[in-house]
């Protein structure tokens, strides 16, 4: 049995890690930390785990050494404490934003503070199995992308790699409320957030830097909070390279994703479910990717959807862990999602 622990386990990403790890057949969840709730049963704040575990949260200073340590702590905080965490596990899988960008300047530009562990920046392997699987097999430091970033990376990289799109890409992202974490504030008060169409990033959402880094293309991204708890959907616009057409796009995706367990290409001509929709992805580790060409211009609309807490966070992290441990990649991740939901 692999011994794993989760730091920041009282939060939403932490809780989702606990859900997956407590049902994962090859790991033993050895510790889950919370400063505020130490000593309390984890099912007190994660009531879906009732009857599944009798684990209680522990304080961080009770951590010992684990095979894998997941970090589900806020950015800024995570980089400060990374040296300490590195000593506590063979493999660190970080879900915060602190080690996703390779370049310290870009970090400062998008996060508004200087990076405090620049020496470590280059040492993390991106937690994107679809593009870094080989490196992940031996990686001891993994940095999982942001929820919207992952959707953008999976949607756009195959087209960028194949040279099928050019120029600037625009991304219109929509996100549910769990993306903001479990901290109460007036912005997340039910009466305020419910039914909102809140453009919280009219330009330059942070995740654009990650998508740009992965695709090598300039990206302009907005983000809007929509009525949902879980779920992210991206609507991206790009211009086709000269001569590129629908078949090229479809082939590029097919080639890239034919054997991927968790990426599905959804671009159908009929039915209710023609393009990726986060509604049916809650709890699943799928990222659905689709596209449509404008018949009158060189524009292509690319659409991606995922559950921000799963393929946009905890599920993707466990997929990385499975790869690192040489386990079947889908272990613990086979829930397909619900319909209707």
């Amino acid at each position: 049995m692999t011994r794993v622990a989760v730091v920041g386990a009282a939060g939403y990403i932490g809780g989702e890690l606990l859900r997956i790890l407590t049902t994962h057949p090859e790991v033993e969840l050895a510790a889950a930390t919370s400063r505020r709730l130490r000593g309390r049963q984890i099912d007190g704040v994660h009531p879906n785990l009732r009857g599944r575990t009798r684990l209680a949260f522990c304080a961080e200073d009770r951590l010992d050494h684990y095979d894998v340590l997941f970090l589900a702590t806020p950015h800024r905080e995570t980089m400060r404490r990374m040296p300490e965490f590195l000593g506590r596990a063979d493999t660190i899988i970080d879900l915060s934003g602190d080690f996703r960008l390779r370049c310290a300047d870009t970090y400062e530009d998008y996060y508004g503070v200087p990076h405090e562990a620049t020496a470590l920046l280059g040492t993390f392997v991106p937690g994107v199995p679809e593009f870094h699987r080989e490196r992940l097999r031996t990686a001891d430091r993994v940095s999982v992308p942001g929820c919207m970033a992952n959707a953008g990376i999976l949607a756009l990289t195959p087209l960028a790699e194949a040279g099928l799109i050019r120029d600037e890409i625009t991304v219109d992202a929509r996100t549910g409320s769990s993306g903001a974490g479990a901290t109460a504030g007036s912005e997340n008060l039910h009466a305020e957030r419910s039914g909102a169409l809140r453009v919280f990033a009219p330009t330059r959402h942070r995740h654009e830097a990650e998508i740009s880094q992965a695709t090598g293309l300039p990206v302009r991204m907005t983000a809007t909070g929509v009525e949902a708890v879980r779920g992210v959907q991206l609507l991206c616009r790009a211009r086709l390279a000269d001569g590129a057409g629908e078949r090229d796009i479809r082939s590029a995706y097919r080639e890239r994703y034919a054997d991927e367990p968790f990426v599905r290409v959804v671009a159908q001509r009929r039915g209710l479910h023609r393009f990726p929709d986060a509604k049916i992805l809650s709890g699943s580790n799928f990222c659905d990717v689709g596209f449509a060409l404008d018949p009158e211009s060189d524009g292509v609309t690319v659409i991606a959807a995922l559950d921000n807490l799963v393929k946009g966070g905890a599920g993707n992290a466990v997929q990385c862990m499975n790869i690192r441990l040489g386990l079947p990649e889908s272990l613990g991740l086979d829930f397909p999602g619900l319909h209707p939901n």
Partner: protein
């Protein structure tokens, strides 16, 4: 492994409450059934009293 003492009953719901072997007087434990907060009144033998309730007023 932590040692556990096979514990006293929850004064609220009569569930058996498990306490760590190294628990001390006046520490708070949670009843796993009704989730009352219980204060360890003594350890030998282990006895529990109900910790004072924080008011939860949901106002609605």
């Amino acid at each position: 492994m932590q040692k556990v003492v096979n514990g006293p009953e929850c004064p609220e719901c009569a569930a058996e409450v498990t306490i760590d072997g190294d628990a001390r007087v006046s520490e708070i434990v949670e009843c796993l059934d009704c989730r009352s907060e219980l204060e360890i009144a003594s350890v030998q033998p282990p006895t529990l009293t109900l910790a004072p309730d924080v008011e939860e007023d949901w106002g609605e």
